[in-house]
Symmetry: C2
Subunit: 356 residues, 2 copies
């Protein structure tokens, strides 16, 4: 990937919060680095990106993001290898996806050179926040919001693109049991489910709270029409292992085209693990759970990489998965992370070095 030269305004922070952060006890997405990247869209064009000290932003109370949810985001990570090189994982996928999300939300697309140069400059300025060690990373959150004032329900004429970064430890959620959704749904055919649109996430909180009250940690979303087919797990794509075959739903306009998901499918192929990308019915998974052929369920996403699921609930019944030692979840997680941390050969060309 080559990115054209861009002028970015840089205003460095005179102080650093680095010394005040306990890197051994990080709560996910809670602490942010010293700088952020900001770029405004006005009068039909994206202005010069600015890197400046992390801090609050000021908006009109009538800004369209507050009223009409014109907001999209991405989740990425940066890793430091043992030789202090900094790496990103398939950032081109996140760049392409944020623009697909923006398009669906009628937000102007962001220029590739601004995205990469802004991101790389920001990572270089805050590179001390990226800690060595397998499992440590810097979680990167690019996002775009509509800033134009006015409560007419129409696309905004001004926007703000930002990147903020938060140091992260390995994401461990404890044991996860999921409820298969019988009533609530995440996305409609012809809707915005395939976009990383802010509104898709807030819409999940209430059903997820109900699932938590029933003793589960997450929901596996089913299709809104029939609730017969399994789509996503919480905010992740979901995989099922029946005997030695991996199953996952095809992406469509309801399901996010996850970077971890597609990386797992490539790794499966390269490692001769049979994977079927097709609609997966609740019925077949229940049957597989009953006859013992359901070996694993796991979620896949940037934050957790892979999140094993120990059991699920459906129509008042609970199902526990067997404990297995040679799990696909561990296999893929290890493979992926070794590529991310430059500990394994990058046969797919997924690593992207942030060069000094």
């Amino acid at each position: 990937m080559k990115h054209a030269s861009t002028d970015i305004d840089i205003v460095k922070s005179t102080t650093s919060k680095l010394d005040s952060v306990d890197f051994e006890n990080l709560k996910f997405g809670h602490v942010f680095t010293d700088h952020m990247m900001e770029c405004d869209y006005e009068d039909g064009a994206w202005k010069t990106p600015v890197i400046k000290p992390y801090g609050k932003i000021e908006l009109e109370p009538s800004a369209k993001v507050f009223h009409y949810g014109q907001a999209v985001f991405e989740g990425m990570k940066a890793f430091r290898d043992d030789n202090d090189k900094i790496w990103l994982f398939r950032p081109d996928e996140n760049f392409k996806r944020i623009n697909l999300s923006s398009k669906r939300l009628a937000i102007p697309e962001f220029p590739e050179e601004y995205f990469f140069q802004g991101l790389e400059e920001l990572l270089k300025i805050d590179k001390e926040w990226i800690k060595k060690g397998f499992g440590n990373s810097l979680y990167i959150r690019p996002f775009v919001i509509a800033t134009e004032p006015g409560v007419l329900a129409s696309p905004g004429a001004s926007y703000k693109f930002m990147i903020i970064c938060s140091p992260a430890k390995s994401y461990y959620t404890g044991e996860v049991r999921v409820q298969i959704s019988e009533k609530y749904s995440r996305a409609a055919d012809g809707g915005v489910g395939a976009a990383k649109a802010a509104g898709n996430y807030g819409a999940q909180f209430y059903p997820t709270n109900l699932a938590k009250e029933a003793g589960f940690q997450q929901i596996i979303w089913t299709d809104a029409n029939s609730h017969e087919f399994l789509e996503e797990a919480g905010t992740m794509n979901v995989f099922f292992r029946v005997n030695d075959t991996l199953l996952t739903a095809p992406v469509n306009d309801r399901i996010l085209d996850g970077v971890t998901r597609k990386s797992i499918l490539s790794l499966a192929e390269a490692n001769s693990i049979k994977a079927e990308v097709r609609r997966v019915s609740v019925k077949e998974i229940i049957e597989a759970a009953k006859n013992g052929s359901l070996k694993e369920i796991f979620g896949a996403g940037t934050a957790a990489v892979i999140n094993p699921i120990q059991g699920f609930g459906y129509k008042g019944e609970r199902y526990e998965l067997p404990k297995i030692t040679d799990s696909y979840a561990s296999f893929f997680k290890d493979k992926l992370m070794k590529i991310q941390y430059n500990l394994a050969e990058d046969e797919f060309g997924w690593r992207y070095e942030v060069k000094e």
Copy 2:
């Protein structure tokens, strides 16, 4: 309605923008009054509401509203009658609905006394912004946003409830032709379509832009499953008149329970106009258009009150509606507005006086 006494902090603006506003040429939702109401939720409770000069708000870039779309709103209007009394229209409905929306978005409900006292104090302070004259009004926008910093996808622990107000003239959009949606959809069964959730609106902008490029002003949304049934028009509920019968879809978890919609249904009953609340198929409306029994289509919502629709497109065909003089659209709009402006008897008890 009785509302318990509440202490509200009031900080008055030392200046007013009133003289700088051209009330004859108002763009909808563009100019805001001198004050706004703000109330923060922290540590499990709504704090004392504050009325203060209208101005920007400061938020962390990681505030959950930007990333997870936890945001809901309402639309209301205040009217000044010929005796300088100020009236609201069924504000209890908006109060109930914002809390239903909040519940669906996992936002804490807002106290009734804060809502009414805050709103009434704000209207009294900015009462000079409510102009006399049939068609003039003050558009009122209560909304709630999640303000907690942090990019973990979970409900926020802090929120901001606000009310901002914008003076409005009669809402006239010109001739409106709508495209019946064949691909895109507004809401899923089990989703958040019934909530006035910010994300529902941004999701409509792109398909609406496509409809505009095809020569229409709005979309009539159909059900996401089959696209066979008519649901909402743009951001309004939609009514069809076939011969002398009014048809509109029942509210459900995809369709907003509109205040104007339910008021029209009450007025229809009181005026012996036959109304059927049932699923309305695209097929029957096309047939009615072809055989001449389709007399009217109109949208119903707070901003426009009633928005007549002159024609529609479906599968590449265009249909024009007849021009009629004794339209239901005009009848209901006149009835509703006369109640709103205290020019007609309030047989349903819909008016609510904002007393000095």
